[in-house]
Symmetry: C2
Subunit: 68 residues, 2 copies
């Protein structure tokens, strides 16, 4: 299977698992992203794709800065 | 291998292959995307991800409308 793990990339360079075994990724209506795992688990993030490597099964996400 | 094929999704619903065997996807500095295949072929698109299914090895891209 070719699902990937999606991590939030923090400003200090650390990566935090957001959702494992991600199959589907699509933008949602609020400018964020909807991710759905192969198990049907669905998570929304107010952020965007920072980069991804499909061969490495890895998606890095960046959250929008909510502090204005 | 878990690379995917990236297609441009046209307004009429047809899909046009943009780059095969994509490994890396990341935003570029112009608000578009850079895609790199497992063979090192690199393509830039002035557009965004419409949706993707990693299990189906498929990335759908939408080009920005250049006609204003």
């Amino acid at each position: 299977m070719c699902e990937a793990n999606a991590y939030i990339l923090h400003d200090d360079g650390t990566e935090e698992l957001f959702l494992g075994a991600v199959d589907l990724i699509e933008p949602n209506e609020n400018g964020g992203l909807k991710l759905v795992s192969i198990f049907g688990e669905q998570k929304i993030i107010d952020g965007s794709i920072e980069r991804m490597s499909l061969v490495n099964h890895k998606v890095l996400l960046k959250t929008r800065n909510r502090e204005q």
